[in-house]
Amino acid sequence: MNASNEITLVNLAKEGLWIENPGLVKLLGLCPLLAVSNTLINGLSLGLATLATLLVSNTLVSGLRSSIPPAVRIPLYVLIIATTVTIIELLMQAWLPGLFVTLGIFLPLIVTNCLILGRAEAFAVRHSIRLSIIDALFMGLGFLLVLSLLGTAREFIGQGSILSDSHHLFGETARDWTMQIFDKQHGMLLALLPPGAFIGLGLLLAMKNGIDAALSQRENNNH
Protein backbone atom coordinates (compact mmCIF):
# COMPACT_ATOMS: atom_id res chain seq x y z
CA MET A 1 0.00 0.00 0.00
CA ASN A 2 1.28 3.40 -0.89
CA ALA A 3 2.06 5.21 2.38
CA SER A 4 1.40 8.69 1.01
CA ASN A 5 -2.15 7.74 0.09
CA GLU A 6 -4.82 8.81 2.51
CA ILE A 7 -7.11 5.94 3.52
CA THR A 8 -10.50 6.90 2.19
CA LEU A 9 -13.35 4.88 0.78
CA VAL A 10 -12.51 5.97 -2.74
CA ASN A 11 -8.84 5.11 -2.34
CA LEU A 12 -9.64 1.69 -0.83
CA ALA A 13 -11.96 1.02 -3.75
CA LYS A 14 -9.27 2.03 -6.27
CA GLU A 15 -6.66 -0.10 -4.51
CA GLY A 16 -8.85 -3.22 -4.35
CA LEU A 17 -10.40 -3.02 -7.77
CA TRP A 18 -7.48 -1.76 -9.82
CA ILE A 19 -4.16 -0.50 -8.39
CA GLU A 20 -3.51 -3.40 -6.00
CA ASN A 21 -5.98 -5.88 -7.52
CA PRO A 22 -5.27 -9.24 -5.82
CA GLY A 23 -5.78 -11.22 -9.03
CA LEU A 24 -4.02 -8.97 -11.55
CA VAL A 25 -1.36 -7.09 -9.57
CA LYS A 26 -0.66 -8.95 -6.34
CA LEU A 27 -1.20 -12.30 -8.08
CA LEU A 28 -2.52 -13.75 -4.82
CA GLY A 29 -4.64 -16.88 -4.71
CA LEU A 30 -3.58 -17.99 -8.17
CA CYS A 31 -4.32 -21.67 -7.53
CA PRO A 32 -8.11 -21.31 -7.12
CA LEU A 33 -8.14 -18.44 -9.62
CA LEU A 34 -6.74 -20.66 -12.35
CA ALA A 35 -8.46 -23.89 -11.39
CA VAL A 36 -12.04 -22.81 -10.83
CA SER A 37 -12.39 -20.12 -13.50
CA ASN A 38 -13.59 -22.56 -16.18
CA THR A 39 -17.14 -21.17 -16.14
CA LEU A 40 -18.66 -17.88 -15.07
CA ILE A 41 -20.79 -19.52 -12.38
CA ASN A 42 -17.86 -21.43 -10.89
CA GLY A 43 -15.70 -18.31 -10.84
CA LEU A 44 -18.47 -16.16 -9.41
CA SER A 45 -19.27 -18.74 -6.72
CA LEU A 46 -15.69 -19.09 -5.55
CA GLY A 47 -15.34 -15.33 -5.70
CA LEU A 48 -18.37 -14.93 -3.43
CA ALA A 49 -17.12 -17.57 -1.00
CA THR A 50 -13.72 -15.86 -0.88
CA LEU A 51 -15.34 -12.45 -0.42
CA ALA A 52 -17.44 -13.76 2.48
CA THR A 53 -14.38 -15.32 4.13
CA LEU A 54 -12.40 -12.12 3.68
CA LEU A 55 -15.17 -9.99 5.20
CA VAL A 56 -15.48 -12.20 8.29
CA SER A 57 -11.73 -12.62 8.79
CA ASN A 58 -10.92 -8.92 8.33
CA THR A 59 -13.71 -7.96 10.75
CA LEU A 60 -12.60 -10.42 13.42
CA VAL A 61 -8.89 -9.66 13.07
CA SER A 62 -9.54 -5.93 13.24
CA GLY A 63 -11.97 -6.25 16.15
CA LEU A 64 -9.55 -8.39 18.15
CA ARG A 65 -6.40 -6.55 17.14
CA SER A 66 -5.78 -5.05 20.58
CA SER A 67 -5.79 -8.51 22.19
CA ILE A 68 -3.79 -10.39 19.53
CA PRO A 69 -0.22 -10.92 20.82
CA PRO A 70 2.22 -10.29 17.96
CA ALA A 71 4.10 -13.53 18.65
CA VAL A 72 1.13 -15.75 17.85
CA ARG A 73 -0.75 -13.54 15.42
CA ILE A 74 -0.25 -15.81 12.41
CA PRO A 75 -1.68 -18.92 14.13
CA LEU A 76 -4.62 -16.83 15.29
CA TYR A 77 -5.27 -15.51 11.77
CA VAL A 78 -5.17 -19.05 10.44
CA LEU A 79 -7.54 -20.20 13.18
CA ILE A 80 -10.03 -17.43 12.36
CA ILE A 81 -9.82 -18.05 8.62
CA ALA A 82 -10.06 -21.83 8.92
CA THR A 83 -13.09 -21.59 11.20
CA THR A 84 -14.83 -19.20 8.81
CA VAL A 85 -14.15 -21.39 5.80
CA THR A 86 -15.32 -24.54 7.58
CA ILE A 87 -18.61 -22.88 8.45
CA ILE A 88 -19.10 -21.57 4.91
CA GLU A 89 -18.37 -25.06 3.63
CA LEU A 90 -20.98 -26.63 5.94
CA LEU A 91 -23.58 -24.03 4.97
CA MET A 92 -22.92 -24.55 1.29
CA GLN A 93 -23.10 -28.34 1.60
CA ALA A 94 -26.48 -27.97 3.29
CA TRP A 95 -28.12 -25.39 1.07
CA LEU A 96 -26.16 -25.26 -2.20
CA PRO A 97 -25.17 -28.91 -2.67
CA GLY A 98 -24.68 -28.62 -6.45
CA LEU A 99 -22.21 -25.83 -6.00
CA PHE A 100 -20.50 -27.65 -3.15
CA VAL A 101 -19.78 -30.57 -5.49
CA THR A 102 -18.59 -28.31 -8.32
CA LEU A 103 -16.19 -26.26 -6.21
CA GLY A 104 -14.92 -29.42 -4.55
CA ILE A 105 -11.51 -29.12 -2.97
CA PHE A 106 -11.18 -25.41 -3.82
CA LEU A 107 -13.71 -24.46 -1.18
CA PRO A 108 -11.64 -25.73 1.81
CA LEU A 109 -8.53 -24.46 0.03
CA ILE A 110 -9.76 -20.88 0.52
CA VAL A 111 -7.98 -21.25 3.88
CA THR A 112 -4.68 -21.26 2.04
CA ASN A 113 -5.52 -18.30 -0.19
CA CYS A 114 -2.74 -15.83 0.59
CA LEU A 115 -5.09 -12.97 -0.20
CA ILE A 116 -7.00 -13.48 3.05
CA LEU A 117 -3.98 -13.94 5.30
CA GLY A 118 -2.32 -11.06 3.47
CA ARG A 119 -5.15 -8.62 4.13
CA ALA A 120 -5.29 -9.64 7.80
CA GLU A 121 -1.56 -8.99 8.23
CA ALA A 122 -1.21 -5.96 5.96
CA PHE A 123 -4.41 -4.14 6.75
CA ALA A 124 -6.95 -5.43 9.26
CA VAL A 125 -4.54 -5.73 12.19
CA ARG A 126 -3.66 -2.05 12.02
CA HIS A 127 -6.93 -0.39 11.03
CA SER A 128 -10.42 0.14 12.42
CA ILE A 129 -13.21 -2.37 11.85
CA ARG A 130 -14.97 0.02 9.49
CA LEU A 131 -11.94 0.48 7.25
CA SER A 132 -11.14 -3.25 7.41
CA ILE A 133 -14.62 -4.16 6.21
CA ILE A 134 -14.33 -1.69 3.33
CA ASP A 135 -10.90 -3.07 2.48
CA ALA A 136 -12.21 -6.66 2.54
CA LEU A 137 -15.17 -5.68 0.39
CA PHE A 138 -13.09 -4.12 -2.37
CA MET A 139 -10.22 -6.60 -2.28
CA GLY A 140 -12.79 -9.43 -2.40
CA LEU A 141 -14.67 -7.72 -5.22
CA GLY A 142 -11.43 -7.21 -7.13
CA PHE A 143 -10.69 -10.93 -6.86
CA LEU A 144 -14.29 -11.84 -7.72
CA LEU A 145 -14.25 -9.66 -10.84
CA VAL A 146 -11.08 -11.25 -12.17
CA LEU A 147 -12.46 -14.73 -11.47
CA SER A 148 -15.74 -13.90 -13.22
CA LEU A 149 -14.05 -12.22 -16.18
CA LEU A 150 -11.69 -15.14 -16.71
CA GLY A 151 -14.57 -17.58 -16.14
CA THR A 152 -16.76 -15.86 -18.73
CA ALA A 153 -13.99 -15.79 -21.33
CA ARG A 154 -12.99 -19.42 -20.80
CA GLU A 155 -16.57 -20.68 -20.78
CA PHE A 156 -17.46 -18.76 -23.94
CA ILE A 157 -14.36 -19.77 -25.90
CA GLY A 158 -14.31 -23.31 -24.56
CA GLN A 159 -17.93 -24.38 -24.78
CA GLY A 160 -19.76 -21.51 -26.45
CA SER A 161 -22.05 -20.74 -23.53
CA ILE A 162 -22.43 -18.15 -20.81
CA LEU A 163 -24.00 -18.79 -17.40
CA SER A 164 -24.16 -22.58 -17.75
CA ASP A 165 -25.21 -24.38 -14.55
CA SER A 166 -26.53 -21.14 -13.10
CA HIS A 167 -29.08 -23.14 -11.06
CA HIS A 168 -26.20 -24.32 -8.86
CA LEU A 169 -25.86 -20.81 -7.51
CA PHE A 170 -29.26 -19.20 -8.05
CA GLY A 171 -31.68 -22.11 -7.60
CA GLU A 172 -34.08 -23.88 -9.95
CA THR A 173 -35.56 -20.69 -11.42
CA ALA A 174 -32.17 -19.93 -12.98
CA ARG A 175 -31.96 -23.21 -14.88
CA ASP A 176 -32.78 -21.59 -18.24
CA TRP A 177 -30.49 -18.59 -17.86
CA THR A 178 -27.81 -20.37 -19.83
CA MET A 179 -27.07 -18.73 -23.15
CA GLN A 180 -25.63 -21.07 -25.74
CA ILE A 181 -24.01 -18.71 -28.23
CA PHE A 182 -22.55 -21.39 -30.50
CA ASP A 183 -22.49 -25.15 -30.50
CA LYS A 184 -20.40 -26.80 -27.81
CA GLN A 185 -18.76 -28.98 -30.44
CA HIS A 186 -17.02 -25.93 -31.93
CA GLY A 187 -15.59 -24.73 -28.64
CA MET A 188 -11.86 -24.42 -28.26
CA LEU A 189 -11.12 -27.05 -25.67
CA LEU A 190 -7.80 -25.49 -24.69
CA ALA A 191 -9.66 -22.66 -22.96
CA LEU A 192 -11.24 -25.09 -20.47
CA LEU A 193 -8.02 -26.90 -19.69
CA PRO A 194 -5.34 -25.57 -17.29
CA PRO A 195 -3.14 -24.06 -20.05
CA GLY A 196 -6.15 -22.00 -21.15
CA ALA A 197 -6.37 -20.60 -17.62
CA PHE A 198 -2.74 -19.46 -17.73
CA ILE A 199 -3.06 -17.98 -21.20
CA GLY A 200 -6.31 -16.24 -20.27
CA LEU A 201 -4.84 -14.75 -17.11
CA GLY A 202 -1.75 -13.68 -19.06
CA LEU A 203 -3.92 -11.83 -21.57
CA LEU A 204 -5.87 -10.14 -18.76
CA LEU A 205 -2.57 -9.03 -17.18
CA ALA A 206 -1.36 -7.68 -20.51
CA MET A 207 -4.61 -5.84 -20.98
CA LYS A 208 -4.41 -4.23 -17.54
CA ASN A 209 -0.79 -3.22 -18.05
CA GLY A 210 -1.65 -1.85 -21.49
CA ILE A 211 -4.43 0.30 -20.06
CA ASP A 212 -2.15 1.52 -17.26
CA ALA A 213 0.58 2.41 -19.76
CA ALA A 214 -1.87 4.30 -21.96
CA LEU A 215 -3.21 6.19 -18.95
CA SER A 216 0.21 7.24 -17.68
CA GLN A 217 1.26 8.31 -21.17
CA ARG A 218 -1.77 10.54 -21.46
CA GLU A 219 -0.99 12.01 -18.05
CA ASN A 220 2.59 12.75 -19.15
CA ASN A 221 1.38 14.42 -22.32
CA ASN A 222 -0.87 16.69 -20.29
CA HIS A 223 2.02 18.00 -18.24
Binding site: N38, S67, P69, P70, A71, V72, P75, L76, L79, I80, A82, T83, T86, I87, L90, L91, Q93, A94, W95, P97, G158, Q159, D165, K184, Q185, G187, L189, L192, L193
Partner: protein, 221 residues
Protein backbone atom coordinates in the same frame (compact mmCIF):
# COMPACT_ATOMS: atom_id res chain seq x y z
CA UNK B 1 9.85 -9.64 19.61
CA UNK B 2 8.09 -11.04 22.67
CA UNK B 3 8.81 -14.59 23.64
CA UNK B 4 5.78 -16.83 23.93
CA UNK B 5 4.77 -16.98 27.58
CA UNK B 6 2.11 -18.96 29.43
CA UNK B 7 -0.50 -16.26 28.95
CA UNK B 8 -0.04 -16.31 25.21
CA UNK B 9 -0.34 -20.09 25.19
CA UNK B 10 -3.54 -19.97 27.21
CA UNK B 11 -4.94 -17.33 24.88
CA UNK B 12 -4.17 -19.51 21.89
CA UNK B 13 -5.78 -22.51 23.60
CA UNK B 14 -8.87 -20.54 24.57
CA UNK B 15 -9.25 -19.16 21.04
CA UNK B 16 -9.01 -22.66 19.62
CA UNK B 17 -11.69 -23.86 22.03
CA UNK B 18 -14.00 -21.04 20.99
CA UNK B 19 -13.38 -21.84 17.32
CA UNK B 20 -14.18 -25.50 17.93
CA UNK B 21 -17.36 -24.59 19.79
CA UNK B 22 -18.50 -22.38 16.91
CA UNK B 23 -17.83 -25.14 14.37
CA UNK B 24 -19.69 -27.69 16.50
CA UNK B 25 -22.74 -25.43 16.54
CA UNK B 26 -22.54 -24.95 12.75
CA UNK B 27 -22.11 -28.69 12.27
CA UNK B 28 -25.16 -29.51 14.40
CA UNK B 29 -27.26 -26.89 12.62
CA UNK B 30 -26.36 -28.13 9.14
CA UNK B 31 -26.26 -31.87 9.85
CA UNK B 32 -29.95 -32.48 9.23
CA UNK B 33 -30.20 -30.46 5.97
CA UNK B 34 -27.05 -32.11 4.64
CA UNK B 35 -28.36 -35.57 5.46
CA UNK B 36 -31.69 -34.75 3.84
CA UNK B 37 -30.02 -33.51 0.67
CA UNK B 38 -27.93 -36.65 0.39
CA UNK B 39 -30.96 -38.80 1.07
CA UNK B 40 -33.01 -36.95 -1.57
CA UNK B 41 -30.29 -37.35 -4.18
CA UNK B 42 -30.04 -41.03 -3.40
CA UNK B 43 -33.82 -41.52 -3.53
CA UNK B 44 -33.96 -39.72 -6.88
CA UNK B 45 -31.18 -41.87 -8.33
CA UNK B 46 -32.66 -45.10 -6.97
CA UNK B 47 -36.08 -44.30 -8.46
CA UNK B 48 -34.49 -43.82 -11.88
CA UNK B 49 -32.42 -46.96 -11.64
CA UNK B 50 -35.14 -49.41 -10.64
CA UNK B 51 -38.14 -50.54 -12.63
CA UNK B 52 -41.01 -48.22 -11.69
CA UNK B 53 -43.65 -49.71 -9.39
CA UNK B 54 -41.71 -52.95 -9.16
CA UNK B 55 -41.04 -52.69 -5.44
CA UNK B 56 -42.78 -51.65 -2.25
CA UNK B 57 -39.91 -51.69 0.20
CA UNK B 58 -37.45 -48.88 0.93
CA UNK B 59 -34.34 -49.74 -1.14
CA UNK B 60 -32.38 -46.88 0.41
CA UNK B 61 -32.64 -48.68 3.75
CA UNK B 62 -32.40 -52.28 2.49
CA UNK B 63 -28.66 -52.15 1.95
CA UNK B 64 -25.88 -54.69 2.03
CA UNK B 65 -22.15 -54.14 1.72
CA UNK B 66 -20.14 -56.56 -0.39
CA UNK B 67 -16.60 -56.59 -1.61
CA UNK B 68 -15.50 -58.07 -4.93
CA UNK B 69 -12.82 -57.22 -7.50
CA UNK B 70 -15.56 -57.00 -10.15
CA UNK B 71 -16.99 -54.01 -8.29
CA UNK B 72 -13.72 -52.19 -8.77
CA UNK B 73 -12.90 -51.31 -5.19
CA UNK B 74 -10.93 -52.72 -2.28
CA UNK B 75 -13.57 -51.40 0.08
CA UNK B 76 -16.96 -53.07 0.42
CA UNK B 77 -19.45 -51.21 -1.78
CA UNK B 78 -23.09 -50.66 -1.05
CA UNK B 79 -25.95 -52.45 -2.78
CA UNK B 80 -29.55 -51.21 -2.50
CA UNK B 81 -32.13 -53.97 -2.82
CA UNK B 82 -35.67 -53.61 -4.15
CA UNK B 83 -38.36 -56.09 -3.10
CA UNK B 84 -42.04 -56.45 -3.76
CA UNK B 85 -43.79 -58.04 -0.75
CA UNK B 86 -40.47 -59.52 0.22
CA UNK B 87 -39.72 -60.96 -3.25
CA UNK B 88 -36.48 -59.59 -4.76
CA UNK B 89 -37.21 -57.45 -7.85
CA UNK B 90 -33.99 -55.57 -8.47
CA UNK B 91 -30.87 -53.98 -7.08
CA UNK B 92 -28.74 -50.87 -7.46
CA UNK B 93 -25.05 -51.66 -7.15
CA UNK B 94 -22.47 -49.00 -6.31
CA UNK B 95 -19.39 -49.78 -8.36
CA UNK B 96 -16.15 -48.10 -9.23
CA UNK B 97 -14.49 -47.85 -12.63
CA UNK B 98 -10.86 -47.51 -11.50
CA UNK B 99 -9.39 -46.89 -14.97
CA UNK B 100 -10.92 -43.53 -15.91
CA UNK B 101 -8.67 -40.91 -17.48
CA UNK B 102 -8.21 -39.25 -14.08
CA UNK B 103 -8.69 -42.26 -11.81
CA UNK B 104 -11.85 -43.51 -10.16
CA UNK B 105 -15.29 -43.02 -11.63
CA UNK B 106 -17.99 -43.97 -9.15
CA UNK B 107 -21.15 -45.45 -10.59
CA UNK B 108 -24.58 -46.65 -9.59
CA UNK B 109 -25.74 -49.58 -11.72
CA UNK B 110 -29.45 -50.42 -11.56
CA UNK B 111 -30.37 -53.99 -12.40
CA UNK B 112 -33.62 -55.92 -12.59
CA UNK B 113 -33.75 -59.16 -10.64
CA UNK B 114 -33.17 -61.09 -13.91
CA UNK B 115 -29.97 -59.14 -14.42
CA UNK B 116 -30.96 -56.69 -17.15
CA UNK B 117 -29.62 -53.19 -16.74
CA UNK B 118 -32.24 -50.57 -15.96
CA UNK B 119 -29.82 -47.66 -16.01
CA UNK B 120 -26.48 -46.29 -14.89
CA UNK B 121 -25.50 -43.01 -13.22
CA UNK B 122 -22.13 -41.49 -12.43
CA UNK B 123 -22.00 -40.28 -8.83
CA UNK B 124 -18.44 -38.97 -8.72
CA UNK B 125 -15.60 -38.51 -11.19
CA UNK B 126 -12.58 -36.36 -12.00
CA UNK B 127 -12.72 -36.57 -15.80
CA UNK B 128 -11.60 -33.62 -17.89
CA UNK B 129 -14.25 -30.90 -18.12
CA UNK B 130 -15.51 -30.50 -21.67
CA UNK B 131 -13.92 -33.75 -22.77
CA UNK B 132 -14.69 -36.65 -20.46
CA UNK B 133 -17.49 -35.16 -18.42
CA UNK B 134 -20.15 -36.01 -20.99
CA UNK B 135 -20.81 -38.98 -18.72
CA UNK B 136 -22.85 -36.62 -16.51
CA UNK B 137 -26.56 -36.44 -17.24
CA UNK B 138 -26.43 -32.65 -17.18
CA UNK B 139 -23.78 -32.59 -19.92
CA UNK B 140 -25.00 -35.21 -22.37
CA UNK B 141 -27.34 -38.16 -22.86
CA UNK B 142 -24.54 -40.67 -23.21
CA UNK B 143 -25.13 -42.47 -19.92
CA UNK B 144 -28.71 -43.23 -21.01
CA UNK B 145 -27.33 -45.62 -23.62
CA UNK B 146 -27.23 -48.14 -20.79
CA UNK B 147 -30.98 -47.80 -20.23
CA UNK B 148 -32.86 -51.10 -20.48
CA UNK B 149 -30.04 -53.23 -21.80
CA UNK B 150 -30.99 -56.88 -22.16
CA UNK B 151 -27.76 -58.27 -20.82
CA UNK B 152 -28.62 -61.89 -21.67
CA UNK B 153 -28.99 -61.01 -25.37
CA UNK B 154 -25.66 -59.25 -25.61
CA UNK B 155 -22.41 -60.69 -26.92
CA UNK B 156 -19.24 -59.96 -24.90
CA UNK B 157 -17.84 -58.16 -27.97
CA UNK B 158 -20.67 -55.63 -27.79
CA UNK B 159 -19.39 -54.37 -24.42
CA UNK B 160 -16.96 -52.01 -26.08
CA UNK B 161 -16.97 -48.53 -27.57
CA UNK B 162 -17.84 -48.30 -31.28
CA UNK B 163 -14.26 -47.59 -32.25
CA UNK B 164 -13.37 -51.05 -30.93
CA UNK B 165 -16.34 -52.77 -32.54
CA UNK B 166 -18.76 -52.45 -29.64
CA UNK B 167 -22.13 -50.74 -29.37
CA UNK B 168 -21.37 -47.72 -27.16
CA UNK B 169 -20.45 -44.28 -28.52
CA UNK B 170 -17.09 -42.85 -27.60
CA UNK B 171 -16.64 -39.09 -27.17
CA UNK B 172 -14.70 -36.91 -29.57
CA UNK B 173 -11.17 -36.96 -28.20
CA UNK B 174 -12.02 -39.10 -25.20
CA UNK B 175 -12.20 -42.86 -25.50
CA UNK B 176 -10.72 -43.82 -22.16
CA UNK B 177 -13.58 -42.48 -20.06
CA UNK B 178 -16.46 -44.29 -21.84
CA UNK B 179 -14.34 -47.41 -22.19
CA UNK B 180 -13.77 -47.50 -18.42
CA UNK B 181 -17.47 -47.17 -17.69
CA UNK B 182 -18.55 -49.73 -20.29
CA UNK B 183 -16.08 -52.25 -18.94
CA UNK B 184 -17.06 -51.60 -15.33
CA UNK B 185 -20.80 -51.93 -16.04
CA UNK B 186 -20.13 -55.15 -17.93
CA UNK B 187 -18.24 -56.59 -14.97
CA UNK B 188 -20.98 -55.58 -12.57
CA UNK B 189 -23.62 -57.23 -14.78
CA UNK B 190 -21.64 -60.48 -14.94
CA UNK B 191 -20.92 -60.40 -11.21
CA UNK B 192 -24.57 -59.79 -10.42
CA UNK B 193 -25.71 -62.73 -12.53
CA UNK B 194 -23.41 -65.05 -10.63
CA UNK B 195 -23.97 -63.62 -7.16
CA UNK B 196 -27.62 -62.63 -7.31
CA UNK B 197 -28.78 -65.11 -4.67
CA UNK B 198 -26.06 -64.04 -2.29
CA UNK B 199 -26.93 -60.39 -2.77
CA UNK B 200 -30.48 -60.92 -1.58
CA UNK B 201 -29.69 -63.51 1.10
CA UNK B 202 -27.75 -61.19 3.37
CA UNK B 203 -29.56 -59.48 6.18
CA UNK B 204 -29.80 -55.74 5.72
CA UNK B 205 -26.80 -53.99 7.17
CA UNK B 206 -26.40 -50.23 7.32
CA UNK B 207 -22.62 -50.42 7.35
CA UNK B 208 -19.80 -52.61 6.08
CA UNK B 209 -18.83 -55.32 8.52
CA UNK B 210 -16.13 -54.04 10.87
CA UNK B 211 -16.67 -50.39 10.01
CA UNK B 212 -17.45 -47.80 12.64
CA UNK B 213 -19.48 -45.61 10.31
CA UNK B 214 -23.18 -45.55 11.08
CA UNK B 215 -24.20 -43.58 8.02
CA UNK B 216 -25.78 -45.89 5.52
CA UNK B 217 -25.38 -43.32 2.78
CA UNK B 218 -21.91 -42.26 3.74
CA UNK B 219 -20.19 -44.41 1.17
CA UNK B 220 -21.73 -42.54 -1.76
CA UNK B 221 -20.91 -38.96 -2.17
Amino acid sequence: MNSVDIKTGLLLGASTSIAIAVIVVAFLLTREPIRQTEQQNLQRDLLQLLEPASFNNEPALDTVYLSDPALGSQQPTVIYRARNNGQPTGAVVAANAPDGYNGDIELLVGLSYQGDIIGVRVTRHNETPGLGDDIETRKSDWIYSFNNLMVADMQPAEWKVKKEGGRFDQFTGATITPRAIVSSVHQVALWYQQNREEVFEHLAADKPAGSSSNQSTGIIK
